[in-house]
């Protein structure tokens, strides 16, 4: 990465290696503990849990970029697909909706898929020429008409069932933890489609294609009410951990935390967050272990060899496009998994809240700052940048308070400056990214 990569780090505490890793993770831990001591442990745990999710997203992007040099700026889309999986797996089926239009909807979707498959088959089987183009177009147009004829009534029927509370098919009513791998699978499917078209071309094209697919996924989530209620949101997703209210009403819990000298209300909230943290840490540890093993295996060395010199790797008989497709799918699946976990943590799916700056580009900042190509670096970046993202706002507010203090109250400029503090986040993230790229292009924990 970059030409300054050959700069050697000064020896001592900041030397590369396990000591540096431990030191930097220690520093991030100090940040979190400091937040806990100065603000509240409840807030800190909330930041920490999202930090865990961010770290997993960063792991996924790091696989694509760090291992293979693939430029994916559609992370948001894969994360959102994970969120969709959480709804589809965990919510109870909506009574009436399935009877109203479920089978018809499935038939419509199948006909859509069959149309695309048929068009691809025609494209592959027929000899190139005008006749083939006409045949493909005819299959697509005919298929589209059929699809809409089946789809529209099914959609209307489903959305008419109890629109205020439901208006969608609902899910399978399974435990929400199952949605995590399912989210990964759905994201992998989308990644396969994107990868098939855009891999093997210039790296910029993959970037544009992923940007596009992410916008489309969000548009589908926002507009297809029958699927997950669109912008009406699905809230109240089942949880893998107990509810605060239940804990507060459980005499055993209240007795125990009171014995330790805690307020039961705060303790219940912390206990729930710790429950999430435990589950997320488990996933993160398994993923990091697997990613490390993969990176150090012959497969990982092959990936890095392809990244560093595609032509040479190809000459050695490696199928570059295929390997790229493989790792693109893998990385996107991890983003989908993280997305399902995030929606589980939020307890709701709100398609309107998916912003590319927050879900795509911020994850990129995490990977670059942490150290692309280094799994632990991505994890470190996930925690550090997420902490910074949350903290820049109060810090900026404090700073702006000092700057505007001499201004008279009620002045237009003062009000504007204080109102706009929230946008300092984007500015700060851009600055951090540019500074790291310039002065430490290999990130905080460089690839070994």
């Amino acid at each position: 990465m970059g030409g300054a990569a050959s700069q050697r780090q000064a020896p001592g505490l900041l030397a590369e290696g396990p000591a540096r890793t431990a030191l930097l993770f220690g520093l991030v831990a100090v940040l979190f503990v400091g937040t806990g001591l100065t603000q509240s442990w409840n807030t800190t745990l909330a930041i920490f849990n999202m930090g865990l999710v961010s770290a997993i997203m960063a792991l996924g992007v790091n696989m694509q970029w760090g291992y293979a040099g693939l430029f994916n700026i559609g992370v948001m889309g894969f994360v959102a697909l994970g969120g969709l999986a959480a709804v589809l797996v965990s919510m109870p089926p909506v009574p009436g909706a399935w009877e109203a239009g479920g089978p018809r909807m499935i038939l419509a979707l199948l006909s859509g898929a069959a149309t695309v498959a048929a068009a691809i088959a025609v494209q592959k089987r027929m000899p190139p020429g005008k006749l083939r183009a006409v045949a493909v177009a005819a299959v697509l147009v005919g298929g589209f008409v059929l699809y809409r004829a089946l789809f529209d009534p099914a959609r209307d029927a489903i959305e008419a069932v109890n629109p205020a509370q439901a208006g969608y098919l609902g899910g399978l009513g399974l435990p929400i933890v199952l949605a995590w791998p399912v989210g990964g699978l759905i994201a992998a499917g989308a990644a396969w489609i994107v990868g098939k078209t855009a891999l093997g071309l210039r790296s910029d094209y993959l970037a544009i294609a992923t940007l596009g697919i992410a916008e489309i996924i969000i548009a589908v989530l926002k507009n297809e009410d029958w699927l997950a209620r669109g912008v009406k949101n699905v809230s109240g997703l089942p949880r893998p951990v107990p509810y605060e209210v239940d804990l507060q009403q459980s005499p055993a819990f209240v007795e125990r935390v009171s014995g330790w000298g805690f307020d039961p209300v705060i303790a219940s909230s912390i206990a729930v967050k710790l429950g999430y943290a435990g589950l997320f840490i488990l996933v993160l540890v398994v993923l990091v272990a697997a990613a490390q093993a993969a990176l150090n295996s012959p497969w990982g060395r092959m990936m890095r060899a392809i990244r560093d010199n595609e032509t040479a790797a190809e000459a050695m008989g490696k199928d570059v496009t295929r390997r790229h497709l493989q790792i693109f799918i893998l990385g996107s699946a991890i983003c989908g998994l993280a997305g399902a976990m995030m929606t589980t943590l939020d307890g709701q799916l709100t398609p309107g809240s998916y912003q590319p700056l927050r879900f795509t580009f911020l994850v990129w900042v995490m990977v670059i700052v942490g150290g692309s190509g280094n799994n632990l670096g991505a994890v470190l970046g996930g925690f550090l940048i997420w902490w910074l993202w949350v903290m820049v706002e109060p810090l900026g507010q404090g700073l702006m308070g000092i700057v505007t203090a001499p201004m008279p109250d009620g002045s237009w400029l003062k009000a504007h400056l204080l109102d706009s503090v929230q946008y300092m986040r984007l500015f700060t993230m851009g600055l951090v990214l540019l500074l790291v790229l310039r002065f430490s292009p290999r990130g905080l924990l460089p690839e070994r």
Partner: protein
């Protein structure tokens, strides 16, 4: 059967809006393709560059409006503020080049590194724009709203269907045509323009013949500033200004540049219109047009809309995919493979 009314409806809802939108996209895509040709990377910050120039133009427009201006005759005041916006945008781009991009150029960094760097610039620009003007919708158009309003048109022609031609649409088409003519005159007729094309075609050869690369790069940024700000202001006058919308314009603009062939100015223009016309046609409900064509009782029940307007990005994307599969270098044989 009422061909005339059908055509008027079609022109009113598809032809005119798509032409204006296509001109805006073409100007945006020209900026992208120019930077790609000279600096050899896809500039992700382009949407936000447009937003930056437009923001300055809006602020100056508001200043002028505050001083009591209400349009230059029938034209919007923003036209007077546009040069200031372009100048500010040029300063901003030159500053980012000096502080950010030049370092990587000197190092001959891989294009993908520059793309990531432009992501950082995008964040910073985005933050600045939101900090100054906020995230809300801003309107800044004034002057005469219509060249021909639907009512005047109906009265003039006696047709059932009205045809509205907004000032912003007419202005977009005229300004875009002038800008493109100027650009092509510059690239084909002036010494600097020719040296830019030479640099884009073969960097080493251009350097050998004594072309100063820093000057070429500077001129490229200046032209990009002019094109991006103009595109942004025209889009803002035609629709409205919202920072996030401008960020989202990145997709159709890139699709236009790729469809035309990255690095090819002519391709960028063609690509802009291809994308705009497909987007508008696919998301327009054709019921009205069709109902004029057939007898009354044939009038269709549905809207005859292929895709809802919320899926307009899907259209850009689909065209992009088709071009990538069948002709990765774009319609006009750009340089990217």
């Amino acid at each position: 059967m009422d061909l005339l009314n059908a055509f008027v409806a079609f022109a009113n809802f598809v032809l005119i809006p798509a032409t204006a939108y296509g001109a805006q996209l073409a100007l945006g895509a020209l900026g992208v393709t120019l930077i790609y040709g000279i600096l050899r990377f896809s500039n992700i910050a382009h949407g936000d560059t447009m937003a930056f120039g437009t923001m300055v133009t809006i602020l100056v427009t508001w200043g002028l409006q505050g001083m009591g201006m209400d349009g230059i005759g029938p034209l919007p005041t923003a036209l007077l503020a546009l040069p200031v916006g372009i100048a500010a945008c040029a300063l901003w781009l030159l500053a980012t080049d000096r502080v950010v991009y030049r370092f990587y150029r000197a190092q001959k960094a891989a294009p993908v590194i520059l793309v990531i760097v432009s992501m950082g610039v995008m964040f910073v620009t985005n933050g600045v724009v939101r900090f100054v003007i906020g995230t809300d919708d801003q309107r800044f158009s004034d002057g005469e709203r219509f060249i021909i309003s639907a009512r005047t048109f109906r009265e003039m022609t006696g047709l059932e269907e009205g045809l509205a031609f907004r000032t912003s649409q007419g202005l977009t088409i005229v300004v875009a045509a002038v800008a493109v003519a100027l650009l092509f005159w510059f690239l084909n007729r002036t010494r600097t323009g020719k040296s830019m094309r030479a640099f884009s075609d073969n960097e080493d050869l251009a350097l050998l013949s004594g072309i100063n690369p820093e000057r070429v790069v500077m001129v490229a940024w200046l032209i990009t500033a002019a094109l991006a700000t103009t595109a942004g202001v025209l889009y803002g006058l035609d629709k409205s200004f919202m920072p996030f919308t401008y960020f989202q314009l990145l997709l159709p603009i890139f699709a236009a540049a790729v469809v035309g062939g990255l690095g090819s100015p002519l391709g960028a223009i063609a690509g802009g219109f291809v994308i705009a016309f497909s987007e508008v046609t696919v998301t327009y409900a054709f019921r009205k047009v069709v109902s004029y064509l057939g007898p009354e009782e044939w009038s269709p029940d549905g809207l005859l809309q292929l895709l809802s307007t919320d899926y307009k990005f899907a259209v850009s994307f689909a065209i992009l995919v088709i071009v990538l599969i069948y002709r990765p270098t774009g319609l006009f044989r750009g340089k990217a493979v």
